[in-house]
């Protein structure tokens, strides 16, 4: 029922392979101290960004968290600009000021990169509000982890969006752990879609490890939101294969649990399905990987060649250029 055609399957596989290999390179670059600060990887969860963001139109918006490299790539933020941002260079998509947790790209309507849990949700509501007030046919997709559902900002945002019929798609990436806190130790009601439906919007759970299921759910949800009928909520059931960030002893979950989930690797799942359907062979997979590596190599090269910002401009970007106060011109 959810089956995509061969081209679409191939495109989503390509997307997921790119995200996976991009982030694996990021982890290496972190060890080499090219990337610093906090680095949160999306490995294991790629089907969600691929299944949802690729259905958005250029005018639609995305609001994401600190675990947003994949979403940025899928929304069309150039890969070189993403890598340069992680390197803190001037050609980064945020001019180097934000780093891994704060990817922004106004042109592609990618609104972060928010590192305060649930901090992006009210912003998504506001983007949707502006679209509604201007009668614009646009959707805002807002991504957050299940941990964010315990915050007041989640509750307030869901209520506002439903109350005002705003065109916002709430995408909860339920990877079962908020840092070390398992879902059951965070939520009294662990049926997240049930909880979300209490705000008066359609909400349902989706297998977040199956990009075709994500695609189908997103298609339905985006159609609903775009029709002007108000927000929708998807609970995307997934798992992060790697640590929360680069510093995490992972005391809170077992290796066995991680291994069990790895058997549902979204890339392997789709590849196996395509192979069974005669749409893919080992050579084609190797080609996709090589293609991704070429793009990533170029991105790293671009980032490495990009200059570091001159300290003389340190006080930039605090206010709009012609509205500086005396205090910041020093």
């Amino acid at each position: 029922m959810n089956r995509l055609d061969t081209d679409a399957r191939m495109a989503r596989l390509r997307d997921m392979v790119l995200m996976r290999r991009f982030e694996e390179r990021c982890a290496q670059l972190y060890q080499q101290t090219k990337i610093r600060g906090f680095l949160h990887l999306y490995v294991g969860e790629e089907a969600i960004a691929a299944g949802i963001c690729r259905q958005l139109r250029p005018g639609d918006a995305v609001v994401a968290t600190y675990r947003e490299h994949g979403h940025a790539l899928m929304k069309g933020v150039p890969i070189g600009a993403v890598m340069a941002e992680m390197f803190g260079r001037v050609d980064g998509c945020s001019g180097g000021r934000g780093g891994s947790m704060h990817l922004f790209d106004a042109e592609h309507r990618f609104y972060g990169g928010n590192a305060i849990v649930a901090g992006g949700l009210p912003i998504a509501v506001g983007l949707g509000l502006a679209d509604r007030m201007n009668g614009r046919d646009r959707v805002t997709a807002c991504f957050f982890g299940e941990g964010a559902m315990a915050e007041g900002e989640f509750h307030e945002s869901m209520n506002l969006a439903a109350l005002w019929d705003l065109p916002v798609l709430f995408c909860c990436e339920n990877n079962l752990y908020a840092m070390g806190t398992a879902l059951g130790r965070s939520e009294a009601q662990t049926d997240l879609a049930l909880r979300a439906s209490g705000y008066g919007m359609p909400a349902w759970p989706v297998d977040g490890m199956d990009v075709e299921a994500v695609h189908a759910a997103a298609e339905r949800a985006i159609t609903h939101v775009r029709s002007g009928a108000g927000p929708a909520f998807l609970e995307l059931r997934t798992f992060r294969f790697r640590a929360h960030s680069m510093y995490d002893p992972e005391l809170y979950r077992t290796k066995e649990e991680v291994e069990r989930w790895r058997e549902h690797d979204p890339i392997d799942t789709l590849a196996a399905r395509m192979t069974a359907d005669g749409e893919l062979d080992d050579d084609a997979i190797a080609d996709l990987e090589a293609e991704a590596d070429t793009a990533i190599d170029a991105a790293v090269e671009f980032a490495d060649a990009s200059p570091v910002e001159d300290v003389a401009t340190l006080l930039r970007h605090v206010y709009a250029p012609d509205h500086r106060t005396e205090e910041v011109t020093a």
């Binding site: 610093r36 600060g37 906090f38 803190g88 260079r89 180097g96 000021r97 934000g98 780093g99 947790m101 704060h102 928010n114 590192a115 305060i116 849990v117 649930a118 901090g119 941990g147 964010a148 315990a150 915050e151 007041g152 900002e153 908020a178 840092m179 070390g180 806190t181 398992a182 130790r185 965070s186 939520e187 002893p249 005391l251 809170y252 570091v308 910002e309 300290v311 340190l314 006080l315 970007h317 605090v318 005396e326 205090e327 910041v328 011109t329 020093a330």
Partner: protein, 349 residues
């Protein structure tokens, strides 16, 4: 442990853990609550191992609900408990500001003295780790603006070890700011409570020529700056405030009366910061002791950027502190915002 000298070497993180564990052994009303304090072992490993000793009732993992669990800590404190509420970092305390400022700080007053909120709220603070604008705040001085709460900033391992006990004994809300850059610091810690009052500043380095006033994460920077100044024959006294509210005016003024010059170093921003409060108190109470304007070295007025070189340029550094100290020694004035910017652009008298 060295029984003879009664001291032991540990890290700041171990010191706070020891303090919390001691308090929980001594008083059943004390419990620890916060995000990932239990199963995860604490975001900064401060509470590592405590869940095993005290169990999940008293080492209570909370959901991501800062306003909710800080407020719950306030309620529990009013009802006779002695909660230690850990907010992972000061950045997330902004979601709990309403509870801290509108409830913890005011309940005693609003109730005409009937209620008290004996809560301790601990949080990591500060920048310097390339965590960018949302994860690098230094708002310690901002909290110190609020009557009704007390604000502590341990800078030494000894204070990480021994500040919590009097904070828990305090009948009012106490916030402890732990600079993230200090957790790995090691130091010699007395095994017996030195009994230092919480509201007392301490001179960490005696000097004759100027008073360098600081707290928390910038104490090591100031001590390094003082060492550098010493090679130039400038003998700086370094004062560790320890408490930002109340402020120990007496220690500051006594030092200024001897040295006649002062530089305040604060990782917070300069505008509206605690550094201005300290300078104003010196001006109000020791104006005629001063041989030069009070200098300030603060974080530049910019959200902290991710790239290392930019972040370091924004934060107080040994170089900027030394520059400000030299300006003070020359009797120079600090021109406008340059006082917190690069050294050198000053007007000698």
């Amino acid at each position: 442990m060295n029984a003879a000298s009664g001291s032991v070497v540990m890290t700041a993180r171990e010191a706070m853990r020891t303090a919390m564990s001691d308090a929980m052994r001594d008083d059943p009303r004390v419990f620890l609550m916060g995000e990932d304090v239990g199963e995860y072992g604490g975001c900064f490993a401060v509470s590592a191992g405590m869940l095993a000793e005290f169990g999940p009732e008293r080492v209570r993992d909370t959901p991501l609900s800062e306003s909710g669990f800080v407020g719950a800590g306030i309620g529990a404190a009013m009802a006779g408990m002695r909660p230690i509420v850990e907010i992972m970092t000061v950045n997330f305390s902004l979601l709990a500001l309403d509870q801290i400022v509108n409830n913890a700080a005011t309940l005693r007053h609003m109730s005409g003295g009937q209620l008290g909120v004996p809560i301790v709220i601990r949080m990591t603070t500060g920048g310097g780790r390339q965590l960018a604008a949302q994860h690098s705040h230094s708002l310690d001085g901002w909290y110190a603006h609020i009557p009704g709460i007390k604000v502590l900033a341990p800078a030494t391992v000894e204070d990480f070890r021994w500040m919590l006990k009097p904070a828990l004994a305090d009948p009012d809300p106490v916030i402890i700011f732990e600079h993230g850059g200090l957790y790995a610091a090691t130091g010699d810690v007395p095994t017996v409570d030195p009994g230092l009052p919480l509201d007392r500043a301490v001179v960490r380095r005696a000097g004759r020529d100027l008073a360098m006033i600081t707290f928390g994460g910038t104490l090591p920077t100031c001590l390094a700056a003082a060492d550098e100044l010493a090679t130039d024959g400038i003998d700086a006294e370094v004062i560790d405030l320890r408490s930002l509210r109340p402020l120990d005016d007496a220690t500051i003024l006594e030092s200024v009366a001897r040295t006649h010059r002062a530089v305040v170093v604060d990782e917070g921003w300069r505008s509206g910061g605690i550094s201005g409060e300290i300078a104003a108190r010196i001006m109000e109470q020791a104006f005629y002791e001063l041989d030069a304007p009070v200098g300030r070295v603060c974080t530049l007025e910019v959200p902290l950027p991710y790239p290392r070189h930019l972040e370091l340029a924004a934060l107080p550094s040994v170089e900027r502190i030394v520059g400000a100290a030299r300006t003070t020694m020359e009797g120079g004035e600090f021109v406008g915002a340059t006082a917190s910017a690069a050294p050198g652009r000053t007007v000698p008298r």
